[in-house]
């Protein structure tokens, strides 16, 4: 159920038209450019760029907020540690606890990068169905074995989510207390059982695939060639990304 909720993306995404390979390249350029930014003066611009991309995608704000929750917890931990421990310039002091300038600035820059990268990555992932994304990665040089594993794993994750859920319900109906340390054994047995079952299922899957010619001459499904607008969008992204990096390196 968790998995299904996680994969559900809102509809009406205006960037889903963008040719996947170019979109992948363009948005990844932006993401990695963001990762290099540590000059405080560029941070607002970076956040504005990220928000503009999100705006263009027409995804609802609530979706982004839901995506920020899980990794946000980690950031929260750093928010407590960094400003109090890093740096020499004390901004404010309350007894032994001192708020330090360098740590606070460090936290600000981490938070800004974190937010901007996740915002753009969310746009990329929410505007592209998983199989399409994997195929695009494949045509950009990812090894076939990884691509096949990604698609297969994706296909069977949902089945295993259901199997695991049912197995846990069945165990709880037989009074297993999954909330205690002793549940390690029960969980280990459930995982072991799923491994054994999957082992056998994989044999059947392979037989079924072979019967349908897996490993025979296979033509690649070609995609429509990218158009002028696709390249223009890529150019905008690359220019923006380059602009950020060049500005920080040479002008600040």
């Amino acid at each position: 159920m968790l998995v299904k909720a996680a994969i559900a993306t809102p509809s009406g995404n205006s960037l889903s038209e963008w040719e996947t390979r170019l979109k992948l390249l363009g948005l990844l350029c932006l993401v990695f450019a963001f990762a290099t930014i540590n000059d405080l003066r560029l941070l607002p611009l970076m956040i504005i760029t990220a928000l503009a991309v999100y705006r263009l995608s027409a995804l609802p704000a609530s979706y982004l907020i839901s995506r920020l929750k899980v990794p946000g917890i980690f950031l929260l931990a750093m928010a407590v540690v960094l400003p109090l421990s890093a740096g020499e310039t004390v901004l404010a002091q309350a007894g032994p606890v001192a708020l330090r300038l360098e740590g606070t600035l460090g936290l600000l820059s981490i938070a800004a990068r974190f937010f901007s990268i996740i915002t753009v990555a969310t746009v990329l992932l929410a505007s592209t169905p998983m199989p399409t994304l994997v195929r695009a990665m494949g045509s950009l040089g990812m090894p076939d074995l990884l691509g096949d594993m990604l698609l297969f794993t994706y296909r069977y994750i949902f089945q295993l989510a259901d199997d695991l859920h049912r197995a846990r319900v069945a165990a709880r109906l037989r009074r297993a207390r999954l909330g205690s340390l002793s549940s390690i054994r029960t969980t280990a047995y459930i995982v072991g059982s799923l491994l054994v079952r999957s082992h056998w299922q994989a044999e059947r899957v392979l037989a079924a695939m072979t019967l349908r010619g897996y490993g025979n001459s296979r033509i690649d499904v070609s995609r429509p060639a990218p158009g002028l607008r696709d390249f223009a969008a890529l150019a905008v992204c690359v220019t923006l990304a380059g602009g950020f990096v060049v500005t920080q390196t040479f002008f600040l």
Binding site: R166, R175, A176, S193
Partner: protein, 252 residues
């Protein structure tokens, strides 16, 4: 008299879907056997999950043995055998699997051992005790799963599609077993209407989340109009019976 099971106005809906159950009311007496029939998606498994307390109704109340079902707190006197028995068998050996439930209820080691031996001999699977559940045939697995549930001494036994994957021999054995279990209250969901006819005196006909009929098994299932309106067919044995009792065309 206290009913074994009483559902009043029970509704339940999964996200984004029409109601899986919609204002369902019925009650079951002690030692009664009720077949739950209806097409796929009629709400049979949902009903079972509610009775077991795995999920909570959106509206209405459910009482088992006179006490309201508290979602999340599972009652050892309700035993459920899953449709996919694979999800229920998690231990390395059949013996351990059958002992799993009794162990969780806090019985002593000796009591558990006696319990395992007695239920295993009652269901005739003593010879399988040292095998691993994963290498058994589907018929054997089903018997082991039932034995594991019976080991918890449930007073209400719920079976979800118990004959799917069973061959005639195991099906016949299961029919004999259920008919020998006097005193148990039993609910059976099944597409195998002949099986329901042989094991249940009463049927509850669900479709589109509502009770379409509730009454004597042979009477409800002989109602050609009702059955076909909901995508079922009158079982052949009832057609045969009709011929036997009323006589074929040429005889009158």
């Amino acid at each position: 008299m206290t009913k074994t099971l009483r559902a009043s106005g029970v509704s339940f809906g999964y996200a984004e879907e029409r109601q899986a159950l919609d204002d369902v009311s019925f009650s079951v007496n002690s030692a009664e056997r009720v077949g739950i029939i209806g097409p796929n998606g009629a709400g049979k498994t949902t009903l079972f999950m509610l009775i077991c307390g795995v999920i909570a109704p959106a509206a209405g109340t459910l009482e088992v043995f006179g006490r309201p079902v508290e979602p999340g707190s599972f009652q050892p006197e309700v035993g459920m055998v899953f449709h996919h028995t694979n999800d229920q068998l998690i231990c390395p050996t059949v013996r351990e699997d059958i002992a799993f439930g009794p162990q969780n209820t806090g019985l002593s080691e000796d009591e558990v051992r006696d319990r395992v031996n007695s239920v295993a001999s009652a269901t005739g699977i003593t010879a399988l005790l040292d095998r691993t559940p994963h290498e058994l045939s589907s018929g054997e697995q089903r018997l082991v799963a039932i034995t594991g549930i019976l080991a918890m001494m449930p007073r209400l036994l719920i079976l979800d599609e118990p004959t799917s994957d069973l061959d005639m021999r195991y099906r016949r054995r299961l029919i004999g077993m259920l008919n020998d279990m006097e005193g148990h209250t039993i609910l059976v969901a099944s597409h195998d209407l002949e099986f329901v006819l042989e094991t249940c005196g009463r049927v509850l006909f669900l479709d589109e989340g509502r009770v379409q009929a509730d009454g004597e098994a042979a009477v409800v299932m002989s109602d050609k109009e009702l059955m076909e309106a909901h995508g079922l067919e009158v079982p052949h044995s009832l057609v045969a019976q009709w011929h036997r009792h009323v006589g074929p065309e040429g005889c009158e």
